[in-house]
Symmetry: C2
Subunit: 457 residues, 2 copies
């Protein structure tokens, strides 16, 4: 191949060392989820387009990786749409499947499909890859691991608090610094968006979510640029101008929305969550009411939350979630759900930079038997077998090249000990053991090989 071979844009290979760190983090997450009695499920990497589209928002739908129809199905290509420059229609005629964009919509499909076999409320966790055709940047990839917990079939605010506690427990287990968890309620925003004469807050959600970066003034300006009326902008302004502690904000919300029932019911829920959270011994989380938080995905209907990265990191949120009342079984008895997601790769970055990974991720030692040729294998093979059966990591160098080359391999690979059983050793019924860290070499009775090696492991 003359062409340079590379991973596709926004994707990564993982080496053995990186995978050990990822496994550590994944195990902390999974063990925590299990201790809360969430049950694991997995879903396919791709879903039918009918399952996925129309749930996230139009921008998000365009960021899905669609799968090209295979075989003769491609004959259905809508060439007229292409000629009319209706690219989205053209693209839909070429595809009926897409890679998972998140884990929540597949969960809602899973529940609809398996409703008879599931006992409600259903608490599930899921740690699988998702794919988004976004522009890659620090901590943002096109293929990344999401770790979600959701509770379906209960609208009690205890579900919100249980999930907030999951964040708290995970961060505590990881030894992370305290982080801000921003909280809001979509109903507060829906009430305001009605006053703004919008159909839904989804029309301004993505602008609102920029408040973090461009400030309330920037948001107003952007709305003005988009020809929102002054009256409409002022409705939002009075919301975003609310300042103070959580309790002060809730007080201001009550007086601002005294005649707006939609917003008020959101305020009630927000207040109850803040109040009840005090009983939950949150160690690693500051709960902050943030009235500008909107969360992009259009399926959220109630409480929404987002976890900021620790202050010194400028990599956006490390988790988020919310309540969705209409995602599961739209036509059946309503199943309200609440769920959160962990941004695995961003948390990984933080652990890395704060040196929070355990110094020894894997303490088992490895052993290399030098190879003196096929005809000498009888001296070695049964030892290799017996060690491996005890899950002791060992290998025979895979050819009988010069000893120096075999030693170099041991060094480069980080093998801990080299075991030497050559002609001389066989004659004297011994084996030699070389410690590759210190360079020390000792001889032992060959009949004690298993015991000596087990003691080192």
């Amino acid at each position: 191949m003359s062409q340079k071979l590379n991973t596709p844009k926004g994707t990564r290979d993982f080496s053995s060392l990186e995978l050990k760190k990822r496994e550590y983090l994944l195990n902390v997450l999974k063990n925590c989820f299990k201790s809360f009695n969430f049950q694991e499920i997995q879903t396919p990497s791709f879903e039918n387009l009918t399952t996925l589209t129309g749930k996230y928002g139009d921008d998000e739908d365009n960021l899905m990786f669609k799968i090209l129809a295979s075989g003769d199905k491609i004959k259905k290509a809508d060439i007229d749409a292409f000629k009319d420059n209706k690219l989205s229609k053209f693209s839909n005629s070429l595809s009926d499947k897409a890679l998972r964009y998140d884990l929540t919509v597949p969960l809602s499909r899973f529940i609809s499909q398996n409703l008879n076999d599931i006992s409600l409320p259903f608490k599930r966790f899921q740690t699988q890859l998702v794919w988004r055709a976004e522009r890659p940047q620090k901590g943002r990839f096109r293929e990344f691991l999401q770790c979600d917990v959701d509770i379906i079939g209960e609208s009690n605010i205890l579900n919100e608090l249980e999930c907030i506690k999951v964040y708290d427990s995970v961060f505590k287990r990881l030894g992370m610094p305290k982080v801000d968890l921003r909280i809001n309620n979509r109903q507060i925003l829906e009430g305001v968006s009605k006053l703004m004469k919008l159909e839904s807050v989804n029309e301004i959600a993505s602008i609102l979510d920029k408040t973090d970066k461009i400030g309330a003034e920037g948001v107003m300006k952007e709305l003005k640029d988009r020809n929102f009326s002054d009256d409409s902008i002022n409705q939002l302004k009075s919301l975003l101008n609310i300042k103070g502690t959580n309790n002060e904000k809730i007080k201001s919300l009550r007086s601002l929305f005294s005649s707006n029932n939609i917003s008020l019911s959101g305020v009630d829920l927000l207040e109850e969550i803040i109040k009840t959270s005090e009983k939950f011994n949150l160690n690693n989380i500051n709960l902050n009411v943030d009235l500008s938080l909107a969360r992009g995905l259009s399926y959220y209907t109630g409480t929404i939350i987002e976890v900021s990265s620790p202050e010194e990191f400028n990599i956006g949120s490390i988790g988020g979630g919310g309540r969705y009342d209409d995602l599961v079984q739209k036509n059946n008895p309503r199943l309200s759900g609440f769920g959160i997601s962990f941004g695995f790769d961003r948390i990984f970055l933080i652990l890395e930079e704060l040196k929070l990974f355990p110094s020894e991720l894997d303490s088992s030692k490895s052993f290399l038997f030098l190879n003196f040729g096929l005809e000498k294998l009888n001296n070695i093979i049964s030892y290799v077998d017996q060690l491996r059966e005890k899950n002791i990591i060992c290998e025979l160098y895979p050819s009988d090249v010069k000893i120096k080359k075999q030693m170099d391999y041991a060094n480069q690979k980080g093998v801990d000990y080299v075991i030497i059983i050559g002609d001389e050793e066989v004659k004297s019924n011994i084996f030699k053991l070389k410690d590759m860290k210190t360079g020390d070499q000792s001889s032992f009775d060959i009949s004690n090989l298993l015991i000596e090696i087990e003691n080192l492991n």
Copy 2:
């Protein structure tokens, strides 16, 4: 949604119980790979098409799931190709990426890309999903897990034997019955294909691989139908007619190919592997020379092997692999590789039907605290926290519905014990514990809660 939501054809959801079994099998595989000192890597789910195409064969290339170009890239659609019914060309104009078809070609890309950081020989294992747009059938899915070990950078036959030993060790650890491992060498077939005036054995590999099902006679017939000359067919016939023990077959091969150097060098390697295998204490594997074995993928150049499922199962092979001399860094110093793959889902099926999964996959007990309302949380929360910190599985019912409903949930979910701390219990400083299997209920001093629960776990 009026439409029924389903998993896409050939894909599956996994429940918590299925995942526990899959985790058991995966751990057996990984622990075994680790004991041989293979190092884990992971690669992205999709690769650039330039990396993937032309390695497997034309039929296989058509079974890849290609990813539709996103955004404006779709404007490059080759409409002329569509009009000329050149569907493959049209499809290639719409896509520059595809989902992984196997783990070997991504490995070769990984090595080319990271050659400076890798010490050779490179022993890696990889357990990731692959996707093939095949017709689903029993034990065959469109998304399935492959578990591969490969050794790159060594052509010594010890590599073949090391990998065969991996099969043997895994099957032994799983308690599987003895299985046939069929072995052949592509060079033997290449020598014959030259005599048949073919450019490569790849032209007839897929027909040869059917010998299992349609017999040597069936293969001859199919070649005749495809207008192969009698002379050409007879060349193959003399190969397929060779019968007997492994040693008898090798003897016959030597006399048949006395003047065919390509085939003879394959026979030499085959013989050396068979001979050396006797030193390797194979317990769970019968090594059988099978001269009709061709292995579909076109990258194989030397030894090829395939593991049959145990006799009573009719689900095809449960693993296979081979030597590939030209896959890695075609233009650089040749890096020969040998690798094998485990068919995870088919092995899973066998373990299931032979009842080889351990009876208790997860022995930890689970606990449910009954919920008596938000205002009573103080009595409970700190116990829940402390138990979870010890990784004891426990939960609080997520709302204060009727006790009967909470008990039903515990029953349906298979919770082991329900913990009751209501007003009455708080007053008497006790907690009640109900064993959901036996129905027994006992009272304990509340100050002993942690110890009592830990003892049950």
